[in-house]
Amino acid sequence: MPEFTMPSLGADMDEGTLVEWRVAPGDRVRHGDVVAVVDTAKAAIEVECFADGLVDRLLVEPGTTVPVGTPLATIVPAGAPRPEPEPKPEPAEAAPAPEPRPTPEPEPEAPSRVSSPLVRHLAEAKGVDLARVHGTGRGERITRTDVDRATGAEPRARVTPYARRLAAGSGVDLRRVTGTGARGTIRAEDVRRAGRRPAKAPEPAPRPEEPRPEEPRPAADRRTAMRRAIGRLMSRSKREIPHYYVSTTIDMSPALSWLRERNRELPVSRRVLPAALLLKASALAAREVPELNGHWIDDGFVPSEAVHLGVAIALRGGGLVTPALRDAGLRTPEDLMAALKDLVGRARGGRLRGSELTGATLTVTDLGDQGVETVTGVIYPPQVALVGFGKVVERPWAVDGLLGVRPLVTATLAADHRASDGYGGARYLEAVTRLLQDPEGL
């Protein structure tokens, strides 16, 4: 039977903690459905399944840390005969299961106020009689939460990752915290209040305290784990990849004045930041210099037709994730901007998908917001190049023999000498520069 295993969400991950199941035995799942939330050294990630079928058994309890590749659940492929339901190890507080009924599928009698088959399956799996459940959804429909409540299980509390980290670090039991965020989401502030910790904590870091043995991952451990994961990957990069670096200064005035005009006409929600133009130019240039776009695998370069741009995103409270903007070269700057906003929002809200954390063919790091002018990056294996942009600064700049003040950005490229040479790197930055002089063309 196919197994759903702990996925590898990037080359720097070798184990993960199952945080919660989003499915229950008996649920129908389709390719791309989120089935679980997994905590890595870096963040909580929603992981999808890659097959259509029926969830058979969940093999790992929430809170368990297992190596990448460990089976987490078994899934009956779509079309296969459904196996005999096994007695399920339900939590002790679950309502007593009803007598097995002769009718195999209760669906026909299920009241019409149950909107989703998933809810029906969940109720079936948990032995909840839907006729006795009060629906709190629209039109008194029965929701998942209602079913959870009927089993005595707490409805899933939504918790921001920062709050989760803070709670782990301060020993606050999240089940006892009242969320004050949207739809009852538990926020850092709620955890602080619950922990009666001094509210003034501008930096996330709760000081390393005595480790509490009963907690799976205190904040200090999380930081240690993250630093170790980054350390392992970057050490591998520095050990294995013969980096070379090239750099150039790009006049951003055409791009910025074009953006300024555009943004005057666009609704605020669709305003485009310079970062989107830098990403688009980086992706287009990669198509011109294919030896920078792809992966170094088994002592050989495997170029990629598509350009999936990894974007380094700093998390509020520390740390870094690099989800991928798929097919960045084919998207308009507006579209890239929307995608970037969405990715950053979810990276910081703990809602990134597993599929977004893999597959990048080239990474861009834009440190302009941090106030530095130049970033000389370290390549993410197995990628073969990393593009860096610093802050846009106004500087004296000579054009056609005349001195003027221009907004400039320093672009750098760190590239793998096994896959390309300095000449290729230079052509790449030249292409980025040229593309940014003609922003309409992006």
Partner: protein
């Protein structure tokens, strides 16, 4: 809108874009959105959007420098409210 309502509107919008900010972080009018509250350009764009949603006001990019601190934002919104159309908003710094 009273000054305290305006302030609440600003801090509410800030908490929407940066949910980890607590009342203590936002208590100081002089807190810089960029340096103290660690908003990056994307957070700031979301903040401007959130302010627009709450006030119906379209904040142009040219006005961004006037939104450097929490106090700036309150003054900006208050000032804009009092300004008749067609006249430049009063200087707030």
């Amino acid at each position: 809108m009273t000054p305290s309502e305006t302030r609440e509107l600003v801090t509410g919008a800030l908490q929407e874009v940066a949910p980890d900010l607590g009342p203590a972080d936002l208590a100081d009018d002089g807190a810089s959105l960029r340096d103290d509250l660690r908003l990056d350009s994307l957070d700031f764009l979301n903040f401007v959007e959130a302010l627009g949603d709450r006030t119906g006001l379209r904040i142009e990019e040219d006005d961004y420098p006037r939104l450097a601190t929490v106090g700036d934002c309150v003054a900006y919104l208050a000032g804009d409210r009092r300004t008749p159309p067609g006249e430049p908003p009063p200087e707030n710094r």
